[in-house]
Amino acid sequence: MQEEKDFIKELLDPKTQNIAFQKLLRTYQKPLYNHIRNIVLNHDDTDDVLQNTFIKVFQHLKNFKGDSKLFSWMYRIATNEAITFINNKAKRNGTTSEAMQTKIVENLQSDVYFDGNEIQSKLQKAITQLPEKQQLVFKMKYFEEIKYENMSEILGTSVGALKASYHHAVKKIEEFMNTD
């Protein structure tokens, strides 16, 4: 924790800021990319959201109170950015985010940056059937393997509620996967 406090100091000090921010980018760019990609599904959109996430992190670093870990604070920003992005995109296209996500998943096979077999495509389709919160919990637990304690800090939900959400999600997905 002390190490993190020192790192935040480096991020705020104009002399060390540049090097510290590059370190932050190197550490978090891949996990945050995967987190955002699982929500927005498309690579180009993920690129936009990931850049915006780091810019927001940089802009709000001075307001970071250290109440939560830097890791969960950044994941929270990335999650909010990703959800806001798909909602805005859906609004621009005159549709709902659910309908838009379903359409993207149906066309995943034509996405050059999706290299999935039949079962992978089907799992993605199964996920889109879930309510938004369950989707998020399932992706974070199953694909990203984030611990419930950390997920609780990121999403501001109790561990018990997250476990229940995941359990419901798994049941619905298995049901979907078992249908033809």
Binding site: Q22, L25, N38, F143, E174
Partner: protein
């Protein structure tokens, strides 16, 4: 067909791929987009604003003084010249003309001049000016 169960099934990865070398320049692209530290630009003008204002004020005053002085002098000169030429050219002023130039207040003042000199005032003048006595004597 075997029943699908997430826990027993081999782990399924998302299937999303990332373009080659995507992360090679990612941090560079983000760094370029970061809002630059706002350096306060202090221009010569803003830094020396008060100083400049003082200089401007001194300049205005020093330029204004001779101008105002000249204007006032000119006005005075013009006035006395005008009076002089008026007097020269209007020698045939009748009493009526003079009366017309006076207002009611001036006429009242003139009336007072003709009023009899009060005794006390006369005594005062005589006692304070010893030369008057000599003057009267010489006249006689």
């Amino acid at each position: 067909m075997k029943k699908f169960e997430l826990d027993t099934n081999k782990k399924i990865i998302s299937g999303f791929t990332i373009p080659d070398n995507y992360f090679d320049d990612f941090s560079e692209r983000v760094l370029q987009k970061l809002p630059k530290e706002e350096t306060k630009i202090i221009t010569f003008y803003s830094r020396n604003k008060r100083w400049l204002y003082s200089v401007a004020a001194v300049l205005v005053i020093s330029l204004a003084v001779p101008i105002v002085y000249q204007i006032q002098n000119k006005e005075q000169e013009t006035t006395s010249n005008e009076v002089e030429s008026f007097l020269v050219n209007h020698t045939s002023l009748s009493d009526d003309d003079v009366v017309n130039l006076l207002d009611q207040e001036d006429i009242e003042k003139l009336k007072n001049v003709n009023a009899p000199i009060e005794k006390e005032a006369l005594e005062d003048v005589l006692s304070n000016n010893s030369e008057i006595e000599q003057y009267i004597t010489t006249q006689n």
